[in-house]
């Protein structure tokens, strides 16, 4: 699938194959005894766990030691503290997913100015430029993910209906792109559908926001939630109201995947490939530490996942067999 989005500064995407390590590169990296730190927005989601696994595996192959993996719990303050602390550890590189925009920019820039190679995941704070303030941004094609989610939800929306978008109330490149793309796809392909949006400030508020929106507009016939973890909260809240609304989201987390397989609300998922993204991130880090040029924006295309291809998508994304519950939900297995 082609990349349809543009980077945070309008960059054209480079494919992950653009950062490839040859055997001699891996040898060179091994001789350098590199030290790398990882700063994540959260380590609780399935997406984060698989991304980190992808990073750590490739770094291990290159003899690079991961000195820390920080969970910032979506807190800008915790991220700033972590970056300032790690700066004093003087790692060769920091891989970071900035949890916000302006508030964390200075801490990232300070790490970069200290001579530490900075590779960003999914978000580039405003004012930070590739090649100057960071090496590369490695992300999914979030614009493409928003379009996939719109297309998946569209077939479940009756004519002249209303769709709700549950966005994230933070200035965050990835979720902004998904939200904009979802609305644009509907505008072009389903002009009969009215899109209404609201935003949650924390994951645990997503369900509450969804219900508030539904109360304001009972005509809502479907929901798009910008990623899977808040989607779980929305599913719970909608179910408590005994509402049956089709929902699409992003990321093949265990709970929403099970829900899709068992036909319990989720009708489609735009999936990222976190493990492969993690590998691309690690290859970008090593490439930059070998003083070779890196693309400004490396992007991985999304996968369109519906009930019909959920098993193979699960295997592709998580690199393991689908859980028994999912197989049962799809009636691939009949005996419990």
């Amino acid at each position: 699938m082609a990349i349809v989005g543009l980077g945070p500064h309008g960059e054209r995407a480079s494919p992950p194959e653009r950062v490839t390590l040859l055997p001699q590169d891996i040898e060179s990296a091994r001789s350098k005894k590199l030290r790398i730190a990882i700063v994540m927005h959260t380590l609780e989601s399935d997406w984060s766990k698989h991304l980190v696994q992808g990073i750590v595996g490739v770094l291990g192959e290159c003899g690079a030691i991961v000195i820390d993996v920080v969970d910032c719990h979506f807190s800008p303050e915790q991220q700033i503290d972590a970056l300032n602390r790690l700066r004093s550890e003087n790692p060769d590189a920091i891989i970071s997913l900035p949890v916000d925009n302006a508030t964390v920019a200075d801490a990232h820039i300070a790490a970069s100015r200290a001579g530490i190679k900075l590779i960003l995941i999914d978000n580039a704070p405003i004012g930070m430029l590739p090649g100057k303030d960071y090496v590369s941004l490695v992300s999914a094609d979030n614009y493409g993910l928003g379009k996939i989610a719109a297309e998946l939800l569209s077939s479940h929306l009756p004519p002249d209906s209303t769709a709700a978008v549950l966005g994230y109330d933070a200035d965050f490149f990835a979720s902004n792109e998904r939200e904009i793309a979802f609305s644009q796809w509907m505008e072009i392909n389903r002009p009969d559908v009215t899109v209404k949006s609201t935003r949650f400030t924390a994951i645990e508020n997503a369900g509450e926001e969804a219900v508030r929106l539904i109360d304001c507009d009972p005509e809502i016939a479907g929901i798009f939630v910008v990623w899977d973890t808040p989607c779980v909260d929305v599913l719970r809240a909608v179910s408590e109201r005994n509402l049956e609304l089709p929902i699409s989201t992003v990321d093949l987390g265990a709970e929403v995947t099970g829900n899709l397989a068992e036909d319990r609300g989720v009708v489609g998922i735009a999936a990222q490939r976190p493990f492969q993204q993690g590998e691309a991130i690690a290859r970008t880090v090593i490439t930059s530490l070998l003083n070779r040029p890196c693309p400004d924006w490396v992007a991985l295309p999304g996968l369109q996942v519906s009930r019909s291809n959920v098993i193979e998508s699960y295997q592709l994304v998580w690199r393991k067999p689908a859980p028994r519950d999912i197989l049962l939900g799809l009636e691939i297995l009949t005996s419990t």
């Binding site: 989005g5 543009l6 309008g10 054209r12 004012g127 430029l129 304001c216 507009d217």
Partner: protein
């Protein structure tokens, strides 16, 4: 208050700080604001010294500017013996600017404060041959961006960067009609729709000018006095900063180097045709079809088409045929730019555009051509870099162009006492004309998604 200053007889003894009429009072108000805004004066004492105004005049003008919300004196500076002085600061958050970058195949929209800092931006692919859809999309994105702002502030202007030259109309401080920057765009209603929809003045410059301005204010050109900016895309254009200022020429048609004839082998054509993305795409497609490039042939088989970015990325990954195509482009552009460099002796040449951004081969062959064809004195301290700003340069440059226009003394004097440029008599008149002559429902974009 300052409007009464013209009749006051107090403190009439010296210098520039003696307004004798409302007109001179407005002039000093404009001057004080611009001294504060540009950082030339940050305290009352500095305003008295730099502006050559008396203490009472400074106090009066600052009172007026504070009442208008344009300056703030709540912060204190560093004491140099005695009490710490109050800092006079421009309130850059009193309003916002919308900035738009329109390219042949992409659109970028951003929001900036009045210091020119970009606060939010978004870029997406678009087919600008569909003018109505493009205008609607720009409106929808501006509305979405404004809805995401945490500070509620009025919109004071929209500045657009477009993929063609915009001829200067000296008598108008803002646009009232869409100029013909590309064939038939004068009938698109872009400027008219934005003015009417957002009730704010609109400015427009070419991509090359805005990107040059952006690179100079926020990229590799910061702190320099002279810079050549070269944008390589379907068209190839140049921008020049000389002595710290963007060079406009007599009518704004600056840097159209893509029209120059060049030779490569036995073939002669314009630089646009011989080195632009059209050439790269055409030669790449031919290499794919003839199997001269297995990598491009693979892309053609899978995607059904090969574009210029595919060729540049294939070159970067070592494809021989693609490398030859990109090297041709770099050498030809470098040859023309060497002539400019020998004439102008810039401190820096910045190569930009998506073609330059996606590979290092173009930069390498461009450098080789410039260094090879230039006088040693020209290249002794010359740096040649690739832009790191992508399309953000155009947004930043567009913001700076709007700020220059808003605070130009001849425009500012007519709105400052009204508190906002949207109250400028010329703009109010222009808006009334549009409302009377254009139906407000024309080009009405769909409402942005919101509760």
């Amino acid at each position: 208050m300052f409007v009464k200053m013209g009749s006051s007889n107090a403190n009439q003894s010296k210098g520039k700080g003696r307004p004798r009429s409302t007109e001179t009072a407005v002039a000093s108000l404009v001057d004080v604001l611009n001294l504060v805004r540009t950082g030339h004066a940050t305290t009352r004492q500095e305003l008295e010294r730099v502006g050559e105004y008396g203490r009472a005049i400074v106090a009066d003008r600052l009172t007026t500017l504070k009442d208008l919300g344009l300056v703030d004196e709540s912060a204190t500076g560093t004491a140099t013996g005695g009490r710490a002085p109050r800092l006079v600061q421009f309130n850059k958050d009193i309003a916002r600017l919308a900035v738009v970058n329109l390219e042949q195949s992409a659109v970028g929209v951003g929001i900036s404060d009045l210091s020119g800092k970009i606060l939010a931006e978004h870029h997406e692919m678009i087919d600008i041959t569909d003018q109505n859809m493009t205008v609607d999309r720009i409106c929808a994105l501006i509305k979405w961006m404004l809805s995401r702002q945490t500070i509620s502030a009025d919109l004071w202007g929209i500045s657009i960067s477009v993929p063609g030259p915009v001829l200067a109309i000296a008598e108008n401080p803002f646009l009232s009609k869409t100029p013909d920057f590309l064939p038939n765009w004068d009938n698109s209603g872009l400027v008219e729709t934005l003015t009417q929809k957002f009730q704010a003045p609109v400015w427009m410059r070419s991509n090359v000018e805005t990107m040059t301005m952006g690179e100079f204010h926020g990229g590799a050109g910061v702190g320099l006095q002279s810079m050549l900016f070269i944008k390589v895309g379907q068209r190839i254009g140049a921008g020049l900063v000389n002595d710290g200022h963007l060079f406009h020429g007599s009518s704004g048609a600056v840097g159209l180097i893509g029209q120059l004839p060049v030779n490569y082998g036995d073939v002669t054509g314009t630089l646009d045709a011989m080195a632009g993305s059209g050439m790269i795409k055409a030669k790449g497609a031919a290499a794919a079809a003839s199997d001269a490039s297995p990598q491009l042939a693979d892309i053609l088989a899978r995607a059904g088409d090969v574009n210029a970015i595919d060729v540049c990325q294939a070159a970067q990954m070592g494809d021989t045929a693609s490398t030859e195509i990109v090297v041709q482009s770099g050498r030809l552009v470098g040859g023309v730019v060497a002539t400019l460099a020998n004439m102008l002796n810039p401190q820096l040449i910045v190569l930009a555009g998506s073609i330059a951004q996606s590979n290092d081969i173009l930069l390498a062959s461009f450098r080789e051509a410039v260094y090879g064809a230039s006088h040693p004195l020209v290249t002794r301290d010359l740096r040649i870099l690739r832009s790191q700003m992508s399309s953000s340069a155009a947004l930043l440059g567009a913001a700076n162009i709007a700020i220059e226009a808003l605070f130009d003394p001849t425009f500012l004097k007519d709105w400052i006492i009204r508190g906002a440029p949207t109250e400028h008599p010329g703009f109010v008149q222009s808006l009334a004309f549009l409302d009377a002559n254009l139906p407000t429902s024309a080009n009405e974009p769909p409402p942005p998604p919101e509760i």
